[in-house]
Subunit: 363 residues, 2 copies
């Protein structure tokens, strides 16, 4: 157990946005939520997964909805408390800790804010090791943990407890309710006991995020190349670098879908890169080759500052470096690829690991 | 208290479809559900509202959704039980009785089936004295009873407990969830104590429905005009009679909206009647005059048999008599007209009682 204060949050916000692969919410929003809660309530206890008791009730928390909406509709924090209390009523058990469901600017830090407000610890792990657009795209789901009972709560005071026969139904009904509630809501979801958390989670995501943030900061302070340092930390690859020359983006059914076109610079001069996303970056390719595909992580960094850019933060003219990071092994299983691989999103590709694609590029 | 068996259900089905003003579900579906439950469990206790204790918990039950969908997706009964048990968990109280929320072929008889399955009595009353398309259009709502906590349950095993800040939010979220769940779901809604039921209900709706059914049957047996007999029982008026020559109908957002055109016969020869509906009949007019408007009841009867026709049962060529019946006084208050009057549905008319409109016709 260690404490998370404002300095840790500052670093986590950067790392979370990077692992958020374009989605997971604006890191500024998440940081402000966590800052405010920590200022009012003090630092938060971060629990290593190995420190949890098998019978403890742990409830992940997250915002659901299109990130473009979330930017304009900053959650108040009250809806998170409301969702948690409703779920305690339903489970008829006290919740011992919360944890993130995914990495992302908002979704790594909302649970920190919730932990501060409730006085609960936060578990150092999550259900993706990255961000994904749909509720069932979590390692909890791969391990057979039930998505529901889940609670949705909005900032107006509305809440709904869903009991669904499976994760697809939870996604469908929760998404429809989210749209009616104004495009983004707070979720308390995938309630688990400690044993399930140990079996089904990605470990130490918050610590990794903090390390990413610190690595980028320290590289800059020490005049090192921050992108190189991050790639070394994460075992990743530079996929493409250049200038954003076109962005198509539509908000539709609770998702932001689109494509960014990047004109190659330096070693990619003369080539175009195409980044396709649904809340998160799903695939990046050139006119000749696929460079990286979901569930591997595709992150867009500002070429100068190495700071991660969300899909809604992408602007015409931005100088960007697209990096690829191998996903956790849980995502590279048959079931993982079925749930969150390229074919699920309608791409006619067999999943190929980014390291294999990168090797082929080198040939 | 008296018992409701299959003979009573037979009559209630007819009267319920008539008071259902075109909506409230197919009487055949409702009758079959109630028959099956009564065959398995025996007759159901019907409680007069004056027999309820003030502190008893009473929970109305209903199907929600477009009636055209309901016809193809006959409820299994299990979802009703599921919804009821979920709500008992939420309220943390035993439910003492159920009651209909509205009159209608399905929605008067689903609570009878539920009462048979659960062994609970059913209260002789409802929240409309007719049918209406939206959740907040009930006298319970006019009296300030909260729509939620409510439970939605579908035949697949999905359920949702909603806690909403007001009835409009309940309608919005429940409607969206209903659409995703296949267009019709079972609701347990507007939980009340006995005192609230006494203050906010329309009394003796099931008994009135039974009388309507019996009156039509007996008139036929005694070679009397069944329509005249029904009008006398209900204090209603013949508005228009003729042949259906056109029907436009669209299922949209959980509602069936449309217009039927009726070519006048007999005393209406040379005139056309226009019947506009949203699940229920909302307005009927000719080229010159409005004949009856919501919240007053507009019912379409088969001219030969006097049997009520639902909006989805209307067919080209059908010989129909449209009758108008004054709504309960609760609907003719300022609040009643605001919630379910012509302007709510987008018609630019001040509500005028059917008896006034009828008098003007006679001048």
């Amino acid at each position: 157990m260690r404490l998370i204060g404002k300095e840790e949050v500052e670093n986590i916000a950067i790392g979370a946005a990077l692992l958020g692969t374009g989605g997971g919410g604006d890191p500024f929003v998440g940081k402000m939520m966590a800052f405010q809660a920590i200022e009012e309530q003090g630092p938060v206890e971060l629990l290593d997964i190995t420190e949890i008791n098998d019978e403890d009730v742990i409830v992940p928390s997250a915002m659901m909805g299109a990130p473009t909406v979330l930017v304009e509709k900053i959650p108040s924090g009250d809806e998170a408390l409301e969702a948690f209390h409703s779920l305690e009523d339903v489970l008829n058990k006290k919740i011992k800790a919360t944890m993130p469901i995914e990495a992302g600017g908002v979704n790594s830090l909302l649970p920190v804010a919730l932990a501060a407000s409730t006085g609960l610890p936060i578990v150092d792990g999550d259900g993706m090791g990255r961000a994904f657009p749909e509720l069932q795209m979590v390692t909890f789901y791969l391990n057979g943990v039930s998505t529901t009972p889940m609670v949705l709560a909005d900032e107006k005071g509305n809440s709904a407890v869903l009991n669904m026969v499976n994760g697809e139904w939870a996604e469908k009904i929760a998404r429809a309710a989210t749209m009616e509630m104004g495009g983004s809501v707070m979720n308390a979801i995938y309630p688990m006991n400690g044993r399930q958390v140990k079996d089904a989670s990605i470990y130490r995501t918050l610590t990794l995020e903090e390390n990413i943030g610190r690595t980028i900061k320290e590289a800059k302070a020490n005049q090192k190349n921050p992108i190189e340092e991050v790639l070394q930390l994460l075992g990743g690859f530079t996929l493409f670098s250049g200038k954003v020359i076109d962005i198509e983006r539509q908000t539709d059914g609770g998702f932001v879908r689109g494509t960014a076109t990047i004109e190659g610079l330096d070693q990619h001069k003369g080539d175009n890169g195409y980044l396709e996303f649904q809340n998160e970056n799903l695939i990046v390719k050139t006119d000749h080759d696929v460079l990286c595909m979901t569930p591997d992580l595709i992150c867009v960094l500002d070429t100068e500052t190495a700071l991660p850019m969300t899909t809604e933060g992408l602007r015409y003219g931005a100088r960007v470096t697209v990096i690829g990071i191998p996903a956790d092994e849980k995502w590279r299983t048959e079931k993982g690829v079925e749930v969150a691989g390229p074919r699920y999103f309608g791409y006619d590709y067999d999943f190929t690991p980014v390291e294999t694609l990168h090797e082929r590029q080198g040939e």
